[in-house]
Symmetry: C2
Subunit: 222 residues, 2 copies
DNA sequence: ATTATCTATAGATCTATAGATAATGC
DNA sequence: ATTATCTATAGATCTATAGATAATGC
């Protein structure tokens, strides 16, 4: 019940399994977020965890399965939160939703999760951003986030009945690009701004992004 | 002087060298744009060109050198065009540049090049977008495009004297994210919109993006 | 006489599997 | 008695180099 000095006070096998699995996923998440699927080997992940590389195959059939597991572990949580936030806003706004209201629900809910979730959630966000435009990542984005996006687009259409559907989808494409670029945390904005902005400062982003994009939508042609 | 049927009417060695080099760069550009640095082997590139894989090492020291050469081949051209366009607009606008004017010079000049440049230029744009948030790509982005971005930001500051410098850099971060996402041509917008939008339709993007972003800048806090 | 391309191959690395060992579980 | 981890290893692939061959260049 204390285990103060003991380095390896292991509990049940189920616990040990869960613990190792989590360590593998955490390590893979960080490595994939920096170097992508092909830039990481199973040996890299094993070394980061401190186990034999062959243990990777005990838990995952192959590298792509590990990659998909990293994505799936947190995707449902953020997708669910955003669906909820959009539904809540839709109910609240009734017949007259605004673009800004819909975007705050869509964007701020996501950023809040990373702000509050700590380093591991930030790593996952960066992993998502990093792989979103790869063949393997695009499939996962479609699979996990299409319902969220379509719910947002439905609200935007209601808020902007005079704009064409295509124009609204292009606007969404700009929004998601901006968000992905934020989540990617490449460090470019830090260098360009001479230290005025920090890639990790999602609070500063949250302060601006939804209203910035909302103004853009109102300026769409069509 | 005719060489109608001959499959290999080779000219001087300099010509042959230039021709092979170009084929290698074209093939690498397309492959890297889809799979990134680590997702492509020198054998893949050689196979696409139809030569022995060892020929890659005759022309390039290693894979990273090839990668950098693909980036550099076209980077100076688009950077130069955009610098020119921004300088021209700055001269024309004098003391009162507008955000929209600066963004049209920055964004439309780039999109025009890909629209007019054909498939190979489109591939390069997608390559840039694909690798912009990788460790290897970020270095190249900084190296080749910082002067262009800083020129844009200088114009934006002049157009928006009441906004903080940090706010303007965040706005730029949203703009570049949207542009990168467009250039990446992941096909996601095609699927989401049920075919209303096409990833390759840069004309449609050009019609919207600069004014969309300009409206966003005017809505920035600070 | 020089240069573009190919053949042959060494050495490193990576994925994946089979089977052994060392823990926990009744 | 089952399960987590490790050892050993096969097979595939990849980078990189040395040296041979086949073109162009004076």
């Amino acid at each position: 019940m204390d285990g103060s000095t003991a380095k390896r006070v292991r509990r049940t096998k189920a616990e040990q399994r869960a613990e190792t699995l989590e360590q593998i996923l955490d390590a893979a998440e960080l490595l994939f977020s920096k170097n992508g699927l092909h830039g990481v080997t199973l040996g890299d992940v094993a070394a980061a965890v401190g186990v034999q590389r062959t243990l990777m195959h005990y838990y995952f059939a192959d590298k792509l399965s590990l990659f998909e597991a990293v994505f799936a572990r947190r995707a449902a949580i953020t997708a669910g939160r955003r669906i909820e936030a959009l539904d809540r806003y839709a109910a609240e706004a009734g017949d007259s939703p605004t673009v800004a209201g819909a975007l705050h629900a869509f964007l701020d809910t996501d950023l809040d999760l990373y702000i509050q979730g700590g380093e591991l959630w930030m790593n996952w966000a960066t992993f998502c951003a990093r792989v979103s435009n790869t063949p393997e990542g695009a499939v996962l984005m479609d699979e996990h986030f299409d319902p969220v996006v379509l719910k947002l687009v439905a609200l935007l259409k209601k808020a902007l009945p005079e704009k064409s559907e295509a124009a609204i989808f292009w606007g969404y494409n700009f929004v998601t690009g901006a968000l992905i670029n934020v989540l990617a945390r490449s460090g470019r904005i830090d260098r360009l701004s001479g230290g005025l902005c920090h890639s990790d400062d999602f609070e500063a982003v949250k302060k601006q992004i939804a209203d910035f994009m909302a103004a853009g939508f109102l300026a769409l042609k069509d």
